[in-house]
Symmetry: C2
Amino acid sequence: MLLKIDFNSDEAIYMQLRNQIIVGIATSEIRDGESLPSVRDLAETLGINMHTVNKSYALLRQEGYLKLDRRRGAVVSVSPDKMRATMEMLEEMKVVVAKGICRGITREEALQMVDEIYRYYGTEE
Amino acid sequence: MLLKIDFNSDEAIYMQLRNQIIVGIATSEIRDGESLPSVRDLAETLGINMHTVNKSYALLRQEGYLKLDRRRGAVVSVSPDKMRATMEMLEEMKVVVAKGICRGITREEALQMVDEIYRYYGTEE
DNA sequence: TTATTGTTACACTTCTGATAGAACAAATAT
DNA sequence: ATATTTGTTCTATCAGAAGTGTAACAATAA
């Protein structure tokens, strides 16, 4: 799985990492049960600090995407917690959609966009 | 239009304000050409600082949602810039959808969610 | 034992968010 | 014309987050 940091982005490094890993899980680039690189290895690979990677991992653990052993960054998509996930997704979606509406993006276009993302991520299998 | 600040939120105040105003424009609660309260009035109403409101307004202006006269915070949905808006929306949507997929939200559910938001915001008229 | 793992603690710098007071030019109201 | 209100800008302060760095710890694996 390819992880890449944009140092010119206004988005925090640990957040870029978190988001990319979430996308990786969604696209099955990282399978359930597989392990991520160690915090030190990944930090060196990306040219960032160990604690920054650790922060991403800790956040992903807290959010229920990872479970961490001592010697393995095991990936677990536990806590479906669908009700809460739906509420959170709704809140975020509201703002994204609102911005789109202001810019003239129609419902059909938005729906197609979501559909394409699901297709791109490969919901089948 | 009702604007409300959640002081316990981890989201920045000026960002909460920005998002709510964007939603307000999308839902036509604030019509094109209408004006927002003055930075000082709104600040006092919400119990926050003038500069915080000004930061929201300045950001909305920079992003092309507002145009500001001296004595009127005129609302203008200029710069459709649909191509750029689509790209931005796609990037944000990718993360939101990825999180949803990890939590077991299906394509159908996501599509319905977007559809309901459009319906709720009132795309007609 | 030795090396590597996630984790924690402390320190330091830089940046952002938020508040505050003051002042400015332009526009409105009286 | 005078006084007020507008967005805007400047300087300043404070708290917290982000990022880096060094060091150490307990648990696990080689």
